[in-house]
Symmetry: C2
Subunit: 234 residues, 2 copies
């Protein structure tokens, strides 16, 4: 089985493989937050690409998580912090969710054989699923406004390192690069990420406390998967 990495939703047409498992990644913070919300009891998360759609769901009475450019949208119940989605707020609920980058990536890859949500917080669950599926894997990094970002790429490298222990092989330059970046940062990811664009954005919005959570490996066991347009836990 082959592993590939796509560094931007805008490049996905060149990496598309509808027979593959696509792992969508947005470490800061959408895919981390989706894991937190579902593990905290949300019944399903309905990803939508635009704030207009999210607003429409809100008017129909849905709980809505919505973020643009790091900030919670004013009409929304939650933003994009994993700390917003506590069990008392989300248990048993359906939540509509839109973010600057992550939900666009989910939409881009929605025709994949299986679309799952990956983050450091559920790394082992992702590895287990990919290993059991025995299919090619495409890791789709959400990036930032279609640009390359470091944190998603480094996570791709971490996932590659694990998959190479099973019968996966690297087939692309992007996968080699992600693996090299992970090797260079794994012992001190924050040391590399402190210089990154999104770290600076989170810092200027005074929400650095979420970074440690987003970089913690295997805080949760559980894998969000896209089923009939909604993310649910396997």
């Amino acid at each position: 089985m082959k592993i590939d990495v796509c560094f931007s939703p805008a490049l996905y047409p060149f990496y598309q493989n509808n027979e593959a498992v696509v792992v969508v990644v947005d470490i800061f913070r959408a895919t981390t937050t989706i894991c937190a919300a579902l593990v905290n009891g949300a019944r399903k998360i309905i990803p939508v690409a635009s704030t207009d759609e999210a607003r429409e769901y809100k008017s129909k009475g849905y709980l809505v998580g919505a973020e643009r450019n790091v900030k919670r949208c004013d009409f929304a119940d939650f933003g994009n912090s994993p700390f917003d989605y506590t069990p008392d707020h989300v248990a048993g609920k359906e939540i509509v969710f839109t973010t600057t980058n992550g939900t666009q990536a989910i939409q881009a890859a929605s025709s994949a054989h299986a679309l799952v949500i990956g983050a450091f917080v559920n790394l082992t669950s992702v590895v287990q699923f990919c290993t059991e599926e025995k299919r090619d894997v495409v890791i789709l990094c959400s990036g930032w406004n279609n640009k390359f970002n470091l944190e998603d790429s480094i996570f791709a490298g971490a996932l590659i390192e694990q998959l190479l222990e099973s019968k996966f092989e690297i087939v692309s330059d992007a996968a080699i690069a992600a693996w090299l970046l992970w090797k260079q940062s794994k012992h001190h990811p924050l040391h590399v990420l402190e210089k990154s664009e999104h770290y600076q954005r989170l810092k200027s919005n005074e929400i650095l406390d979420q970074i440690n959570f987003c970089l913690s490996i295997d805080l949760v066991m559980g894998l969000p998967i896209l089923k009939e347009g909604a993310l649910v836990l396997i």
Copy 2:
């Protein structure tokens, strides 16, 4: 002055900065070959994106270099090997040139304040120009069919390392990643690149002899720049 890196022509709209110097890179082999042809005496190189355009120029009597998927197009005088463009063939001539990736990248960035051609073979000339221009620099990697590639990214890192010695600063995650990849490969670039997609392509076409040339630093002094639709030496 800021340095940014764009890993694919398809991502250029998200990195576009028309006030910047854009350095177009296609190490294997278009930008290496353009340097070789001009330093060997070609008067100008007219980059065109499609083989149809190149064929039309050919019918008007132009010398034509044309390559697709590593191979020379059958109607062309030259392929994409730097060894094709010897002084006895090119001195004083205008050459129309189209390749799988490099000439697409040139077209994507043709509205930049200045578009120059960068490769390991003319690294110092690129650094000198950027330093004298005192403008932002965007390094545009040609990639392979709009996908990320290693050799162009590693070159971007090598150029960044040099520019950081002047008053340039890194502003983006892509530039940090390119720099990290260069740091990891600079002592043995071939060791990293042996696993790359394009190395394998060149190997299967039995043209590995060109790789050492393409990875040699400062074989030539000279900088191709786009002027009125054609590349000429500064």
